[in-house]
């Protein structure tokens, strides 16, 4: 009791250790506060990331399956309109749509009026004839027989089966008429409806019909674009980084160049798109919408990233290695190519892949050079018109059909998988080649 009162009384004459002790509490509190703020920031970020993945996966996973309808199709030559001809050309131009319609009318004989018949036929996708054409081309003996086919359902049916649109009859705004819903229920009761892996999504190009729209065209376009980007920006960027870091004199000109390269990395990408439009399309007359031009524009966007990453990697190589090589009589170029560059390569590659991943996700500059066009064909070369993945996302997000909502998310999933694979590649490369001194 007396001791404590003494302490309080002598508070004016505390020792340094006592003052430090009283500060200690506040210092610990500040540290705890900082940790809590940091942790909550991480939690918030993770929550948003989780939310993003949850919504995208929730919306998009169903697009990886597609509804198919079972139908007994009579492949009569009369309906196919080929008569006695069995040539490949005749088979290619035969009226498979008519055959399918006929089969549907037979399946639902109750549909008699024109309007009803149109509704019956509307359950099957207008692109379902592809399956028949393929089957007959592979096996012409099937002509004249009746075969069971699983045919791609129309997107409205697909949406109803997946539960995105109402199957209650008599509701406002139903995409399927009450009769169609009835037929669909009948088909389903007979086991004539199934959901299979949506191979169309990964094998065909874009389409106005959601059930026929695929990503393959834009995947090929993206690959072509990125190959061109890599081929242009990697050698240019690495050479620039090496020159600036190892050879260029340090003066105000190189300072100016360095500042400008850093600024270029921050220029909005759409500006690069306008540059590409002006230089590659209008001045050099390159083809519109082509991955070649897209790749060149993306290379411009990538260059500053690669140069900055390359310089950082070169700077990280210890000067003692340069001295050791120079001391043995290696020329400047030998010092760089034999020692500095191999040691800096993991860093340069990591920077390059991150730059490429950035380029993979770019949309705005590609809109400027016309890569936003609706293109059905799969590009065969970088000179063919093509879409790329992010632009495909943009195009599908703009489409009114309900079925494009899930396909947009599916395209985003594919894009994210590509990005994750590239980043993983960067990490693995760094792990594999990283060296310590």
């Amino acid at each position: 009791m007396t001791e404590s009162t003494q302490l309080i009384r002598s508070s004016d004459t505390r020792t340094a250790a006592q003052i430090a002790a009283s500060h200690l509490k506040r210092r610990h509190a500040a540290e705890r506060r900082f940790k809590a703020i940091g942790l909550s920031a991480v939690v918030v970020a993770m929550t948003f990331l989780g939310l993003l993945l949850f919504t995208i996966l929730g919306n998009g996973l169903s697009a990886f399956t597609q509804t198919y309808v079972k139908l007994d199709v009579t492949l009569s030559p009369e309906l196919l309109g080929i008569g006695e001809q069995r040539t490949a050309e005749a088979l290619a131009t035969a009226d498979y749509g008519g055959v399918i319609k006929d089969a549907m009318y037979k399946r639902f004989p109750a549909a008699q009026s024109r309007a009803e018949k149109r509704e019956v036929a509307g359950l099957i996708s207008s692109g379902a004839d592809m399956a028949l054409r393929k089957a007959l081309a592979a096996n012409p003996e099937l002509i004249g027989t009746t075969q069971t086919f699983w045919l791609v359902a129309d997107d409205t049916v697909d949406m109803a089966i997946k539960g995105y649109t109402s199957r209650q009859t008599g509701q406002e705004g139903n995409r399927l008429s009450d009769k169609q819903l009835g037929w669909l229920a009948e088909l389903e009761a007979d086991g004539g409806v199934t959901r299979r892996f949506n191979s169309i999504l990964f094998s065909s190009g874009d389409s106005r019909e959601p059930e026929l729209a695929g990503l393959w065209g834009s995947v090929v376009g993206s690959v072509f674009s990125l190959l061109i980007t890599l081929a242009v920006s990697f050698p240019l960027g690495v050479a620039t980084a090496i020159y600036l870091e190892e050879f260029a004199p340090k003066n105000k000109w190189t300072d100016l160049i360095e500042v400008n390269i850093n600024n270029l990395a921050a220029v909005p990408s759409v500006v690069f798109g306008l540059l590409g439009l002006a230089v590659f399309l209008n001045f050099l007359g390159m083809p519109r919408s082509a991955p070649l031009v897209g790749g060149l524009v993306l290379a411009l966007i990538c260059l500053p990233t690669i140069i900055i990453a390359g310089r950082a990697a070169l700077k990280a190589v210890p000067p003692s290695i340069r001295e050791a090589a120079a001391g043995l009589g290696a020329s400047k170029l030998q010092v760089v190519t034999d020692h500095v560059l191999p040691l800096a390569m993991p860093g340069i590659l990591t920077g390059t892949i991150l730059g490429m991943a950035h380029a993979l996700g770019e949309t705005a500059p590609l809109l400027m050079i016309g890569m936003v066009a609706f293109i059905v064909d799969i590009p065969a070369s970088p000179l063919d018109p093509s879409a790329v993945l992010p632009v495909q996302v943009y195009l599908w997000a703009d489409s009114p059909e309900r079925a494009f909502v899930e396909r947009t998310s599916a395209a985003i999933i594919v894009l994210l998988i590509f990005l994750a694979a590239m980043n993983l590649g960067a990490i693995l490369l760094r792990k594999k080649f990283e060296r310590r001194w």
Partner: protein, 259 residues
């Protein structure tokens, strides 16, 4: 000032050597002769210019931005800083061992073979093997590493790394070997081995060593030069410098009054 310098068999000879790093002058009119077949030690407090002088001899200062050299510096009578001197050839003649062991992150073999390779010294693989083995042998490292020549040079101990660096330097058959505090990062046992090696190499190479340790200078060198604030204060036989210094500054430094 440096009366003991006038010797006819000087391998490296500097007259009025001045070095500037930008505005800052690091060396003031150094006149110094380095004789062949001897170990010359450069001593002095930090920042006295001894390393700068060393790095002039193989023009390592060229790598430093803004470094400027005036005066004359000759190797066998040829001006080292002549415009037509090829730095690559000069450095093949004047090898260097650095303060911190800096083997390349390559195999032990490749570390030693790199110099001979870039200078095209070996006609075939057998000849290159021969050079590598002889160099490792001369550096007293062969016995320790002969079973693991393909392992990384960075995996060796600090002392072994430094001897690997010496092997790497002598593989290109230099005439002069410059050593910039070669033992400052080593423990006493590794230091003793390197010092022993320096003594053995003396017969075939002209060695210039910068050291902070006066005991080391006394142990390994025949001649010693004392630098202070960019000036050469005194140069003479090692024994004389340590037992009977002529200059009060030298006296002060070696008796530990400053430094």
């Amino acid at each position: 000032m440096n009366t003991a310098n006038t010797n006819g068999t000087a391998k490296v000879r500097s007259r009025g050597l001045e070095v500037f790093y930008g505005e800052k002058q690091a060396l003031f009119g150094v006149d110094l002769d380095i004789r062949s077949g001897e170990v010359t030690a450069l001593i002095g407090p930090s920042g006295c210019g001894k390393s700068t002088f060393l790095r002039c001899i193989n023009r390592m200062n060229d790598l430093v931005d803004g470094a400027k050299v005036n005066g004359s510096l000759t190797l066998d009578g040829d001006d080292i800083y002549h415009r037509e001197v090829d730095v690559v050839q000069l450095r093949a003649k004047v090898g260097m061992v650095f303060q911190k062991p800096n083997p390349f992150p390559k195999s032990i073999y490749d570390n030693v073979a790199y110099g001979p390779r870039i200078h095209g010294m070996a006609a075939d693989q057998a000849e290159l093997d021969e050079i590598v083995m002889t160099s490792l042998e001369k550096a007293g490292l062969l016995g320790e590493v002969k079973d693991r020549l393909q392992e990384s040079g960075t995996g060796l101990s600090g002392g072994q790394q430094q001897r690997l660096c010496i092997a790497r330097a002598i593989a290109v058959e230099p005439e002069v070997i410059l050593m910039d505090e070669p033992c400052s990062a080593l423990d006493p046992i590794a230091t003793a081995k390197v010092e022993e090696l320096i003594d053995e190499l003396r017969d075939n190479y002209t060695i210039v060593i910068v050291t902070h340790s006066m005991q080391q200078a006394a142990r390994v060198s025949q001649r010693t030069a004392f630098f202070h604030l960019g000036k050469l204060i005194e140069m003479g036989d090692t024994e004389q410098i340590f037992t009977n210094p002529q200059q009060p500054l030298t006296q002060g430094y070696i008796t530990g009054r400053f430094g």
